[in-house]
C-alpha cells in the first residue's frame, strides 16, 4: 500500500503538525511494542548463543533433523498444492461470474461465500465424518466395492480441506481484477484478429494477473499459517503444528520452536515480496473504469457451466452439511448417518458452558472496535498528514499480514510471560486481554486498508469547505470525514470480527484458562474427545452463524466490491 503521492497541501501551522506527530509517535510506539518487539524477540532467541553473541547453530540443527526438513518441505508443497487446486476451481468460477450472464448465476456467487463462513478446522472434522477412513463415503465404497480411498489421510487431507476453504480468496480477487479490465483492451485485441483461448492467454490473463496473484498469495500465506486443520486431522509433519508442539510440550524455552517460527515468517515475507512485483502492476488494468459486459449464455453451454458449478458447490457444502448433522447427533460412529439425534449438544454449549460464546463476542467485538479506531487514525495519517514517518507506520501496520498467528503468540508468550504488566498486577499473558491484543494486531491490516480505500475517495476540498464554514478540525472529522468513510470502517470492522470469530492459531497458545477460551478454543477442546465431538460441532454451527452474519453484512456494506476487502 503506497502513500498517495497526490496528497493535497494541508493546512496551517507548526502547532498542528506537532499534534499529528505526537499521535504518529504514540501509534508507532504502540505497534512497535505489540508487533515488532515480539517478532524481534523470537528472532533473537533463534539466533542467540545463550550469551551475548549471535549464532546460526540453531538453524543448522533445524536442517539436520529429518522431521523438520520434512515439515518444511511439506508446508511449502502443501501451500503450492492448495494454490494450484484452488486456482483450478477459482479461475473458471471467477471468469464465469464476471463474463457470463445465465440463469442460476447466483449459484456461482454463493460458492464464493460458502467456504468463508466455516472455519477450516471445523470443516476438517466434518469432512472426516464424510470422507474419512470410516466416513460415510468410504463405508459405502467398502460395502459396494470393498475398497476405500484415503481422502483425509496425512497431507492429502490437509490440502483437501484447505483447498475447499481458501479457493474463494483466489476467486474474489481474480474477479475484481477481471471486472476492472477495460472492455476496449480486449476489443482492440479482437480487432487485431486475436480471439478465443489465445485472447485469454495474451490479453485477459496478463491483465487479471494482479488480482489472481494477490489471491494466491493470501491463500499460500493462510495455508502455511493454518494450525487448526493439521491439528484436527492429527497430521503433525508441518511447520505450524511443529512450532506449536515444541512450545507447548517441550516448553517456552525450546529454541527449535523459535527457529521454526522464524522460518515461517521468512516464508510468508518471502512470498509477499515475490508477489509484490506483480501486485504493483495492478494499476494498468484499471486505467479506465469501463465495466466489462456480461454475455448472456443459454442452452448446452449453460448446462455445462451449471454442471461444473454444481459439482464444486456440492463438495464445498459437504463440511457444512456434516457439521450441522453432527451437532444434532447423539452417536455417529462407523455408520453412514447418525443413529440417534438430540438437542443436548446445543443445551450443553448454550447453557452449561455458555462462556465460549460469550467470550468470543466480548473479544471479537472489542478487537474489531479497536481495529476500526486504529485503522481510521492510521489511514487518516497516511493520507492527510505530511508528517515524516508515515511510511514506517504503514509498513508496521501492514506487517501482521505476513506474521503467522503461531509466531505472534510465541512472541507474546516470550515477551510478556512472567512479567507483571504495569497497571494490571499480573502478566498480560495470564489474562484474556492478551487474546484481544492478538486479535487486534492480526486484523489491523484489514481495517487500515478498508479505511484507506474509503478515505482516498474523499476529496480534501470536502473537508476544507467545512473548515472554511467554521468547523474546526475535530468537528470536520466528525461531521464530514467520518460519515463519508463509515462504510469502509464498518466493512473493515466486520471482516476483523468474522475472521477473529474463528481464529485458532494464536488463540490455542494464548488462552490462559479454559473458562477464558473463545469458540474456536472450545471447539478444539470438545473435539479432543469422541464424546465431545457433537458438542464441538454445535459450537461450530454457532461460529458458522456468526460468520455468515458478518459475511452477509459485509456484502451489504461493500456491495459488489467484497473481493477488494480480502486483498493483500
Amino acid at each position: 500500500m503506497a502513500k498517495s503521492e497526490a496528497t493535497p497541501v494541508f493546512a496551517s501551522g507548526i502547532r498542528l503538525d506537532w499534534r499529528q506527530a505526537g499521535i504518529l509517535l504514540t501509534l508507532l510506539g504502540l505497534l512497535t511494542f505489540f508487533i515488532l518487539v515480539p517478532i524481534a524477540r523470537v528472532l533473537w532467541v533463534s539466533l542467540s548463543d545463550g550469551e551475548a553473541g549471535l549464532t546460526l547453530v540453531h538453524f543448522a540443527n533445524f536442517f539436520r533433523r529429518p522431521l523438520f526438513r520434512e515439515s518444511l518441505w511439506n508446508s511449502i508443497v502443501a501451500g503450492f498444492l492448495v494454490v494450484f487446486f484452488g486456482s483450478l476451481i477459482a479461475i473458471p468460477l471467477a471468469y464465469l461470474s464476471v463474463r457470463y450472464d445465465f440463469k442460476g448465476k447466483i449459484l456461482v456467487n454463493t460458492l464464493a461465500t460458502l467456504p468463508l463462513v466455516i472455519p477450516p478446522f471445523v470443516g476438517a472434522v466434518a469432512l472426516q465424518l464424510i470422507l474419512g477412513r470410516s466416513g460415510t463415503v468410504n463405508l459405502l465404497l467398502m460395502r459396494w466395492f470393498d475398497m476405500s480411498i484415503p481422502f483425509m489421510e496425512g497431507l492429502t487431507g490437509v490440502v483437501l480441506v484447505q483447498t475447499l476453504h481458501f479457493f474463494p480468496f483466489i476467486m474474489l480477487n481474480t474477479a475484481v481484477s477481471l471486472s476492472n479490465i477495460d472492455p476496449s483492451l480486449e476489443e482492440m485485441a479482437q480487432n487485431m484478429g486475436c480471439h478465443g483461448l489465445r485472447l485469454f492467454r495474451r490479453v485477459t490473463l496478463p491483465l487479471m494477473l494482479p488480482g489472481f496473484i494477490a489471491g494466491c498469495l493470501l491463500t499460500f500465506i493462510r495455508a502455511v499459517d493454518d494450525l487448526g486443520t493439521p491439528l484436527m486431522l492429527n497430521y503433525k509433519n508441518l511447520l505450524a503444528p511443529q512450532a506449536y508442539l515444541r512450545i507447548t510440550t517441550i516448553g517456552i524455552d525450546d529454541v527449535d520452536g523459535y527457529v521454526i517460527c522464524v522460518i515461517l515468517v521468512v516464508i510468508s515475507l518471502g512470498s509477499l515480496l515475490v508477489a509484490r512485483k506483480y501486485l504493483s502492476l495492478s494499476e494498468y488494468a484499471t486505467l479506465h473504469q469501463g465495466a466489462a459486459v456480461a454475455r448472456p449464455v443459454a442452452g448446452m453451454k449453460r448446462l455445462a457451466i451449471l454442471l461444473f458449478c454444481g459439482v464444486v458447490l456440492s463438495v464445498s457444502l459437504l463440511p457444512h452439511i456434516g457439521i450441522v448433522i453432527l451437532s444434532f447427533t447423539k452417536v455417529w460412529s462407523f455408520s453412514l448417518l447418525p443413529t440417534a439425534y438430540t438437542l443436548d449438544n446445543f443445551t450443553e454449549i448454550l447453557f452449561r458452558a455458555p462462556h465460549f460464546v460469550k467470550n468470543t463476542l466480548l473479544y471479537t467485538v472489542l478487537a474489531a472496535a479497536l481495529d476500526v479506531f486504529l485503522g481510521a487514525i492510521i489511514a487518516f495519517l497516511l493520507i492527510r498528514s505530511r508528517v515524516w514517518g508515515t511510511n514506517a507506520l504503514d509498513a508496521v501496520a501492514t506487517l501482521p499480514i505476513a506474521i503467522p498467528g503461531v509466531v505472534l503468540a510465541v512472541g507474546y508468550l516470550r515477551v510478556f510471560h512472567g512479567w507483571d504488566f504495569p497497571g494490571l498486577g499480573a502478566p498480560l499473558t495470564s489474562t484474556w486481554i492478551i487474546l484481544v491484543v492478538a486479535y487486534t494486531v492480526r486484523r489491523l491490516p484489514y481495517t487500515v486498508r478498508a479505511s484507506y480505500a474509503a478515505l482516498q475517495q474523499v476529496h480534501i476540498s470536502l473537508e476544507e469547505s467545512a473548515q472554511n464554514l467554521g468547523a474546526n478540525r475535530l468537528r470536520t472529522f466528525v461531521r464530514v470525514t467520518l460519515p463519508l468513510i463509515s462504510g469502509g470502517l464498518v466493512a473493515g470492522g466486520l471482516i476483523a470480527f468474522m475472521t477473529n470469530c474463528v481464529e485458532l492459531s494464536s488463540t490455542i497458545m494464548l488462552v490462559p484458562r479454559i473458562e477464558s477460551g473463545p469458540i474456536s478454543y472450545g471447539i478444539y477442546i470438545y473435539m479432543q474427545s469422541p464424546l465431545g465431538r457433537a458438542a464441538g460441532a454445535a459450537l461450530g454451527v454457532v461460529a458458522i452463524v456468526m460468520v455468515s452474519l458478518g459475511t452477509y453484512l459485509t456484502y451489504r456494506v461493500f456491495g459488489g466490491r467484497t473481493g477488494s476487502a480480502f486483498r493483500v
Partner: protein, 363 residues
C-alpha cells in the same frame, strides 16, 4: 454586513526549493470584485488558499480588516470559499449542506430554516432542499456551493475558478448572475481564474500573475489597454508582438524598424520616456485594431504591411485572419464583417493600423 478588507504583505510560499508565490503585496478594498488572473501554476490558487487559511505562508502576512490572521485557523476567519469542484458533501441533502455553516455558528434552530430557505431562493434553488447533491445538475450544484457560503454572511467571498466546470452557455449566465449578486450584496469578492475574458467582464480590479508574482494590477481597461510587459500583452487578449529598434523620433511619433524588417510608426502615450541606454523596443498591436485592405495604394492608416492570407475563420460577428508576411503571422480581427470583402487563403492583402494603436511595452 461585516467589513471585508484584505491586505497581503510580502506573501511568499515555498514548496521544496520552488517558490509558488513570492513578494506579493495586494490591497483589496471593501466591496471590490478582485480577480487573480494567470495561467495554471502561476500561484493564484496558492494565494487564494493562503487567504482562506489552508496554506500558511513562509513569508509575509495576511491581514483581514487590518488584523493579521497568520495564526488564525480557517474555521475562525469567516471567509466563504467556493471550490472549483464545489465540494458538496455527498452524505448531506442540499438543505443540510447549506445549513452546515449556520449550525457550526450555533445559530438558533428556529432561525436556521428561514435563512437557508432565503438563500436558496436567492440563488434560484427553492424546492431542491430535500435532494442530494448528486441529483442536481452541474449548474445547480454550483449554486448550492454558492448558497452554502453566502448563508454564513462571510467577510469575503473567495471563488476558485467556480465556473470552469460549466458548459459555455451556462458559464455566460452564471457570470452575469454572479456580478449582479455580488454588486447587490456588496460583498468583497476575490476571484481566481485563468480566463481573461471572465476577468475583464467581472472584475473591478485585476491582478495578472505569472510565475508566482503579480505582474500588473489595475482596472480591466488599464490591463487590456496598457499592458505593462510582453506577458500581460500576450495573456490578456491577443496581441501581435514586434521587437525592433527605434530609428528616429519625429513630430511625437517614433519610427521603429522591426526585426522582420517592417517600418512601424508608433505614438507613445503622453509622458513616455524611453530608457536612454537602449534603442530596442517591444511593440504590440491588438488584432481588432488592424484593418485589411485589398490594394496597397491608399491605405487609410499610417502603418501598412503587405502579406498573404494564410488562414481565415468566419465567426459571424467577426472574421479572424492570419496574414503571413516576412515569415511571420499577423493576426487580424475584422469586426462587423457585413459588407466588407471576405479574403480567401492565398489572397494578397495589406494590413493597416494607426500609430495610436501601437503599444509599447518593456521586455
Amino acid at each position: 454586513m461585516p467589513a471585508g478588507q484584505v491586505r497581503l504583505e510580502n506573501i511568499g510560499k515555498r514548496y521544496g526549493d520552488i517558490w509558488a508565490v513570492r513578494h506579493v503585496d495586494l490591497e483589496i478594498a471593501q466591496g471590490e470584485f478582485y480577480t487573480l488572473l494567470g495561467p495554471s501554476g502561476c500561484g493564484k490558487t496558492t494565494l487564494l488558499r493562503t487567504i482562506a487559511g489552508f496554506i500558511s505562508p513562509d513569508e509575509g502576512a495576511v491581514f483581514l480588516d487590518g488584523h493579521s490572521v497568520n495564526h488564525m485557523p480557517p474555521w475562525k476567519r469567516n471567509l466563504g470559499m467556493v471550490f472549483q469542484n464545489y465540494a458538496l458533501w455527498p452524505h448531506m441533502t442540499v438543505f443540510d449542506n447549506v445549513a452546515f455553516g449556520l449550525k457550526e455558528r450555533k445559530v438558533p434552530r428556529r432561525d436556521v430554516e428561514p435563512r437557508v430557505m432565503e438563500v436558496l431562493e436567492q440563488v434560484g434553488l427553492k424546492g431542491t432542499e430535500r435532494r442530494r447533491p448528486s441529483q442536481l445538475s452541474g449548474g445547480q450544484q454550483q449554486r448550492v456551493a454558492l448558497a452554502r457560503t453566502l448563508v454564513i454572511q462571510p467577510r469575503v467571498l473567495l471563488l476558485d475558478e467556480p465556473l470552469s466546470n460549466l458548459d459555455a452557455k451556462l458559464r455566460q449566465e452564471m457570470r452575469i448572475e454572479l456580478v449582479k449578486l455580488q454588486r447587490d450584496i456588496g460583498l468583497t469578492t476575490i476571484y481566481v481564474t485563468h480566463d481573461q475574458e471572465e476577468a475583464l467582464t467581472l472584475s473591478t480590479r485585476i491582478a495578472v500573475m505569472n510565475l508566482g508574482k503579480v505582474i500588473q494590477e489595475g482596472k480591466p481597461r488599464d490591463i487590456y489597454e496598457s499592458p505593462r510587459d510582453r506577458f500581460v500583452a500576450a495573456f490578456v487578449g491577443k496581441s501581435n508582438l514586434f521587437s525592433g529598434t527605434i530609428i528616429r523620433s519625429l513630430d511625437g511619433l517614433l519610427e521603429i524598424h522591426t526585426d522582420e524588417g517592417f517600418q512601424i510608426k508608433a505614438s507613445p502615450p503622453p509622458g513616455y520616456k524611453h530608457p536612454a541606454d537602449s534603442r530596442k523596443v517591444l511593440l504590440y498591436v491588438r488584432p481588432e485594431a488592424i484593418d485589411l485592405v485589398e490594394s496597397a495604394d491608399q491605405p487609410p492608416k499610417v502603418n501598412r504591411i503587405t502579406g498573404r492570407v494564410a488562414a481565415s475563420a468566419y465567426q459571424g460577428s467577426l472574421v479572424e485572419y492570419e496574414i503571413e508576411s516576412a515569415g511571420r503571422i499577423i493576426r487580424v480581427n475584422e469586426t462587423n464583417p457585413k459588407g466588407k470583402p471576405l479574403f480567401q487563403r492565398g489572397d494578397e492583402t495589406t494590413v493597416t493600423f494607426a500609430a495610436e494603436d501601437v503599444g509599447i511595452v518593456s521586455e
